[in-house]
């Protein structure tokens, strides 16, 4: 069994003191070179779990480790790439400007969107000079995925990665994610249903319901 690059240990979360628990004692391990899915309906806590794993939220109880580090530790952040269900791109900037900006934040030297293989594989080249606000949901999604991959993270956290993509986009993204895993990366993806993540096979699946992980990992 490969070592876990991401480990979620007994994580509990609620947003307000008197509010309900969104996550209740979640335990999860993401081994290296593995794709893992977390499926669950609306409000099951998938996005909250991803935000905690990305270091964007603090758990109320429990710990998360990325390569043994707290994900909020600046040393852990270059190891993580995150795509949320909302876009992290700036509407007013072009796709190329957005990618160059994030490359600078992550310290990627001499980044050129025109020679980024992910840009080419996702067919984004022709949209590089378009403002993010002018892109359709699917193309913006592709740009967001490129942004998350440009610093070559070891862990990819993907919130409903195939939502909004056409069949061509689904195939292209599945190929990129497969190559990410085959190069030693890991990914944790969420979706409402297992079928939504079928292009990512083979996967281990956790089912999240009412803030609780219900099933042991198993292949689909």
């Amino acid at each position: 069994m490969p070592e876990a690059i991401l480990e979620v240990v007994d994580v509990w979360k609620k947003y307000r003191e008197e509010g309900p628990w969104v996550l209740r004692g979640v335990n999860l391990k993401l081994p290296e070179r593995t794709a893992v899915a977390v499926v669950g309906g609306n409000g099951s806590g998938k996005t909250t779990l991803l935000r905690i794993a990305a270091g964007l939220l603090q758990p109320s109880k429990g710990r998360v480790f990325v390569a043994g580090l707290d994900p909020r530790d600046p040393r852990a952040k270059p190891l993580i790439g995150v795509v949320m269900h909302y876009s992290l791109l700036y509407d007013q900037l072009t796709v190329a400007e957005n990618l160059e900006f994030y490359a600078k934040l992550y310290g990627v030297e001499d980044y050129d969107p025109n020679s980024d293989p992910v840009v080419e594989a996702l067919g984004l080249t022709k949209f590089l000079e378009r403002k993010a606000s002018e892109l359709s949901f699917g193309w913006r999604r592709r740009a967001d995925i490129t942004r998350a991959l440009l610093h070559k993270p070891r862990v990819l956290l993907l919130d409903e990665p195939f939502t909004g993509l056409d069949p061509e986009g689904v195939d292209a993204l599945a190929g990129i994610l497969e190559s990410h895993v085959s190069r030693g990366g890991s990914l944790l993806a969420t979706a409402p249903k297992r079928g939504d993540l079928e292009p990512l096979k083979p996967l281990k699946v956790y089912r999240l319901r009412g803030g609780v992980v219900e099933a042991e990992p198993k292949s689909i």
């Binding site: 952040k77 876009s87 992290l88 700036y90 007013q92 400007e97 900006f101 600078k104 934040l105 310290g107």
Partner: protein, 224 residues
Amino acid sequence: MKLSPRASSQLLAILEKDFRVEFREKTNLWVQLGFTIAVSIASAMAASYSTRPGDVGAATLGLYALFLSVFTGYSAFLREAYGGTLDGLRASPTERWVIFLAKSLLALAFILPQILVFTLVLKLFSGGLEVSWLPLLTWAGATSVFLAALTAFVSASLSYGEARAGPLLLLVLVLSLPYLKSSLAHLSDILNGVAPEAAGLLTDWLMAAGFSAIAIYLSEFILE
């Protein structure tokens, strides 16, 4: 907290990005500039009826600086929080205080020129004002630094609250009152042609620098 070459490069990247975003929303910029000039002309007309026009000018400029702080606060963090892009900054290996410093500098770049435009127009249209430019620039610098740090601080604090923009005005007002109370007295002197005490202006600078340093330190916890 050390401004390493990496941190400097991230700081510059955020500033460059923010300026691009701001300058692509030209309508906002023109509306803001137009409003600054309009308020300043109205203020100059009111000042021309007063025996102490500097008092009127100082009062309106103080009020306008508060308005500017609230407006700039929206650009600093709240817009990023609403748009979701703040998560992109926070997920990146950029230290929280670097993000905060970049937003404070952006706020400074908008507040300082507008305070100067306001004063220039006020002088042009009021007729009776005897402005000493060196003390005025010293005052404007200190006040802009204070308000920029304040607006970034309040905006960052509210970024994860549910009410967000609602309490912005109130918080800016409450936190800025102690500073403005002493600082506007110095401005009033300057606009009335009375040389302010150097110690007074130095106090303004010390308060502004002190508040900025505390705000930068606290940003490590606010943006957690």
